[in-house]
């Protein structure tokens, strides 16, 4: 058993997010809204050697599966990520993330004057465009700074 396989199969039930671009692991945790206070078992690998990415990060979360909105936003900061669902130490499902047309929730609009920042009963919604995302409400375009606007 290789070192890599050992790392990803150590949790009992939960999710392993693998092949995350090096340096993005903490942003992945932010997308999942995990800061440690939830009491979930979390381990993070950073800058692990990877054939595909050179160096990669990975995140393992015990007892937690991802919602579609979380996977959608994840795909924006970690387009190569794979999501492994683990039950009883076995990977029972392995999925690559795909780039969605829209992402809902999770991100907040960077435009302070956007109606979505005004205590209205709506989720944020962004259209995924060539080099970023664009607010469905105010049209503000978010590019490389996506990770700064994860709403936790």
């Amino acid at each position: 058993m290789s070192d890599h396989e050992l790392r990803v199969s150590k949790i009992r039930d939960g999710t392993v997010i693998d092949h995350v671009e090096g340096g993005q692991a903490l942003n992945v945790l932010a997308i999942l809204g995990i800061d440690g206070s939830e009491g979930l078992g979390v381990s993070v690998g950073m800058n692990v050697p990877s054939d595909r990415l050179g160096r990669k990060d990975l995140v393992k979360v015990e007892g937690r599966e991802l919602s579609q909105s979380e996977v959608d936003v994840l795909s924006l900061i970690a387009p190569e990520a794979t999501i492994n669902i683990v039950r009883e130490f076995e990977v029972v499902e392995k999925n690559r993330v795909t780039r969605p047309d829209r992402v809902a929730g999770v991100l907040s609009c960077p435009n302070r004057n956007c109606i979505t920042n005004a205590d209205e009963p709506v989720e944020t919604r962004f259209e995924v465009v060539a080099d970023g995302v664009r607010c469905d409400y105010c049209s503000t375009v978010l590019r490389s700074d996506i990770a700064d606007h994860i709403d936790v």
């Binding site: 435009n111 004057n113 956007c114 109606i115 979505t116 920042n117 005004a118 205590d119 209205e120 009963p121 709506v122 465009v129 664009r134 607010c135 469905d136 409400y137 105010c138 049209s139 503000t140 375009v141």
Partner: protein, 313 residues
């Protein structure tokens, strides 16, 4: 136009625009024919930001179609100051009226409102976002003076926060129009509008001053540069002064140049321009009536057609 609401200029195709403007022409030619067309219906005027002319323009347009209007009044005296969400406000007002005109200080407000109600919503300005009914009357004015193709338009002033500019620039991409954007560096078009222009393949030609492009223009669209956009007053006076025009400035313009302004103006167009043949801004403001009549007529007609189809949905 097969639309339920008018929220942004980006939703408008060339056909949509021409359909409304054709109808505006008909309205202008024979207003009597439209007098009672929507009698018995009600329009709610919801202005969360001070406005006199846009509100009055819609009020007048509605009444000329036989529509009764109800006005939310000033924000200070309404429940908004008590912290009610916009989503709640419009859902309540939907029960009082058959269509809603909304002005709001936040970008995206009209998009949100339209998600919560079934009656037509017209965006009459959302923060520094869009003001598409103004654009329709702007285009009507341009069309009646020059036509909408083979056109060179200069847009000058506050391009960053100017919602009339944002809507006009995107709408013009439907036509064979070259656009020049003239503004101080700090007030250039925002990323969101550039995005739409690039999407359509339109070129964004930017200039620091008017002089070089003035001789090429068919239309010069002037907007106000507001004091609050500058950190200090001296800077404002220095910069704003460079984007004022007077009759002398226009000596270098083509004879048939049309000068437009969404109004109110302060001093960016000197009064001596009013006496030149270039001045079209009062005509432009007056065009608000037939154009908004045509717009209301179209949206209410679409809403009635939708109602007829309800069973099949």
């Amino acid at each position: 136009m097969r639309q339920d609401h008018l929220i942004t200029a980006t939703q408008l195709s060339r056909d949509d625009i021409e359909a409304v403007l054709d109808r505006a022409r008909e309205v202008a030619a024979d207003p009597e024919a439209y007098a009672d067309r929507h009698a018995g219906t009600m329009l709610a005027l919801c202005f969360f930001e001070p406005s006199t002319r846009t509100r009055m323009s819609f009020d007048s347009a509605a009444k000329r179609l036989g529509i009764d209007t109800i006005d939310m009044g000033d924000v200070d005296s309404s429940s908004v100051s008590k912290g009610e969400s916009l989503a709640d406000t419009v859902r309540v007002i939907e029960g009082y009226a058959d269509s809603i005109v909304l002005r709001h200080p936040s970008e995206g407000a009209a998009t949100l409102a339209a998600e919560f109600v079934d009656v037509p919503v017209i965006n009459a300005g959302d923060g520094a976002g869009q003001h598409p009914s103004q654009t329709l009357l702007d285009l009507h004015t341009i069309r009646e003076n020059h036509g909408l193709d083979d056109l060179t338009v200069g847009i000058m002033g506050d391009l960053k926060y100017g919602r009339t500019v944002h809507s006009l620039a995107t709408a013009l991409t439907n036509f064979d129009a070259r656009q020049h954007f003239i503004s101080p560096e700090s007030l250039r078009l925002p990323r969101s509008v550039r995005f739409d222009l690039h999407e359509t393949g339109a070129q964004v030609r930017e200039h620091d001053d008017l002089e070089a492009v003035l001789p090429e223009l068919d239309v010069l669209y002037v907007t106000r540069i507001q004091k609050e956009r500058f950190p200090d007053e001296n800077e404002y006076h220095r910069v704003a002064g460079e984007y004022r025009i007077d009759a002398d400035t226009l000596e270098a313009a083509p004879d048939d140049l049309t000068v437009m302004h969404p109004l109110p103006r302060v001093d960016e167009i000197a009064p001596d321009v009013d006496d030149t043949d270039h001045a079209r801004y009062f005509e432009q403001a007056h065009n608000g009536i037939p154009v908004r009549m045509a717009l209301l007529d179209t949206l209410l007609e679409n809403a009635e057609a939708d109602e007829g189809m309800e069973v099949d949905r």
